[in-house]
C-alpha cells in the first residue's frame, strides 16, 4: 500500500473514531443532565449506597484520538466524565463500541445493559475484588436505568 493510501485510510479511521467519541460524549452529556435531576430525588439510602463508590470505566482501543482512554464514574444516580485519577474502587476496561451499547441501553431503561456486555466478555474488570466491584458497578447502572425507565413512564 502506498503512502497516500495509508494516509487516507488513517484519516478515515480517525474520522470514524471521532464520530464514536462524539456519540459517546453526547450520550454522557444527555445522561448527566437527566441524572443530575434524578440525584436530587434519590432517597437517603440511595445516596448512602453511592458513598465511596468511585467506579472508572476506561475506554480502550482508540488508535488515533489523542486521548487513548476516557475515564468516567457512576456515583449514585450520576454518570460523568472525570479526569484520570488513581483513587478509585473499580476499574473496568471496555472498547468504545461496547461502552456506547451500555450507555444507549441505559438510556433506553435496560437494566441489563452492563451485565449483557460483561457476559459477552467485552468489559474487563481489574483487581483482586473484580467480581464484587463489577457487581457494584452493575448495581449502579441498574439503578440509573431503572430511574430513567420510571421517569419515562411518568412523562409519557
Amino acid at each position: 500500500m502506498g503512502t497516500t493510501d495509508s494516509a487516507s485510510q488513517e484519516s478515515a479511521e480517525t474520522e470514524v473514531e471521532a464520530g464514536k467519541i462524539e456519540e459517546l460524549t453526547s450520550l454522557l452529556r444527555a445522561l448527566s443532565t437527566v441524572l443530575d435531576a434524578f440525584n436530587g430525588l434519590a432517597s437517603a439510602v440511595e445516596q448512602q449506597a453511592a458513598e465511596g463508590r468511585r467506579c472508572i470505566l476506561a475506554v480502550t482501543g482508540l488508535k488515533h484520538h489523542p486521548r487513548q482512554a476516557f475515564f468516567f464514574e457512576v456515583k449514585g444516580y450520576k454518570i460523568q466524565i472525570v479526569d484520570p485519577f488513581t483513587n478509585y474502587t473499580t476499574y473496568i476496561e471496555a472498547p468504545i463500541d461496547s461502552v456506547i451499547r451500555v450507555l444507549k441501553g441505559i438510556w433506553d431503561g435496560r437494566e441489563d445493559a452492563f451485565s449483557a456486555e460483561w457476559s459477552r466478555g467485552q468489559a474487563q474488570i481489574r483487581g483482586t475484588r473484580s467480581l464484587h466491584d463489577g457487581m457494584q458497578f452493575n448495581e449502579g447502572f441498574k439503578r440509573v436505568a431503572r430511574g430513567i425507565k420510571q421517569y419515562r413512564a411518568l412523562t409519557a
Partner: protein
C-alpha cells in the same frame, strides 16, 4: 465449615440436582448450609430453587451478599448474567472470577456448617481452580450407568486423583425408573465396580423419580458418617509382556 463439591466432567448427569438436593437434605438435618453455583457460564442452581426470575445479585461494601432461600444461602452467577444470554467471558477471566468466589471475604457467607458447590461439566481451568482454591472437604462424583458416562467418570476420578482432592462418594444417578427398569446401557453395578476399584467409602444409586427427597435424605445421612478418601492413582498392571521381552533379549545369542 465443610465444603462439598458436586462433580463430573460429563454434562447432564445431575450435578446440580444432587448439589441442591443434598444441600436441602443436610439443612433438614438441622445444619446451616450454603450453595455456591460455580457453573460460571451456565448457572442453573437458581432454577431448581425457583429464584431465577430476577437479577437479584446484591453487594455491600464488604462483599457479595448471598441470597437467603428457604433456610439456605445461595450465590450463583445467574444473579448477575442476563437470562438467556450466552456467556462468552474468556476462560482466563472466568477462572479468575471463580477463584474470587471461593476466596475468603468476597462472598459474605453467614456462619455455615456446610457449603455445597455445584461445578461445571469440564476439566478446564474453572474446575481446576475450584479444586485448588476451595479447600474442599471432599467431592461427590456423579455418573450415569452408561458407557459414555462411565468413560467420563474414569476421567473425573483421574482428575481427583491427580489434584489429591478427597472423594466422599460415587453416585449412579437415574439409572433406572421407579419400576426398576434400566434406562441406560450399563447397570448401577457397573458404576459400583468403579467405587470398589478406587476404594471409595460410599456408593449410592438414585433412581429416576420425581420424589427425590427421600433419596437425598439417605445420601445426607450416609455422607455425614463418611470420611472422604484421597485417591491413589490406580496401579497399571505390571507389564508381563515387557518382562517376557527382556527375558527373550537376555537369551538372544550375542553377536560375534
Amino acid at each position: 465449615m465443610k465444603t462439598i463439591l458436586s462433580c463430573s466432567i460429563k454434562g447432564g448427569v445431575g450435578k446440580t440436582t444432587v448439589a441442591v438436593g443434598l444441600a436441602q437434605a443436610i439443612h433438614r438435618r438441622g445444619y446451616r448450609v450454603g450453595i455456591l453455583d460455580l457453573d460460571y457460564r451456565a448457572p442453573c442452581v437458581p432454577i431448581l430453587l425457583n429464584v431465577e426470575e430476577a437479577s437479584i445479585g446484591r453487594t455491600e461494601h464488604d462483599g457479595i451478599v448471598p441470597l437467603p432461600v428457604d433456610g439456605l444461602w445461595v450465590f450463583s452467577m445467574a444473579f448477575i448474567w442476563p437470562p438467556s444470554k450466552c456467556v462468552q467471558v474468556e476462560d482466563s477471566e472466568a477462572t479468575k472470577d471463580v477463584a474470587q468466589l471461593l476466596s475468603p471475604g468476597i462472598i459474605v457467607w453467614p456462619d455455615l456448617d456446610f457449603l455445597v458447590c455445584d461445578t461445571p461439566p469440564t476439566s478446564s481451568g474453572i474446575v481446576s481452580v475450584a479444586l485448588e482454591t476451595s479447600a474442599a472437604s471432599g467431592a461427590i462424583i456423579i455418573s450415569h450407568p452408561s458407557r459414555v458416562s462411565r468413560a467420563d467418570t474414569l476421567r473425573t476420578l483421574d482428575l481427583f486423583s491427580e489434584k489429591q482432592v478427597p472423594v466422599y462418594a460415587l453416585l449412579s444417578n437415574q439409572g433406572c425408573d421407579e419400576e426398576g427398569r434400566a434406562r441406560y446401557d450399563l447397570s448401577d453395578t457397573d458404576i459400583e465396580a468403579l467405587a470398589v476399584k478406587y476404594k471409595l467409602p460410599l456408593f449410592m444409586s438414585i433412581p429416576h423419580t420425581r420424589d427425590l427427597a427421600p433419596h437425598f435424605d439417605r445420601l445426607a445421612a450416609a455422607l455425614l458418617q463418611t470420611t472422604p478418601v484421597t485417591l491413589d492413582p490406580p496401579k497399571e498392571p505390571e507389564g508381563a509382556g515387557w518382562e517376557r521381552l527382556i527375558q527373550l533379549a537376555k537369551n538372544l545369542p550375542r553377536p560375534r
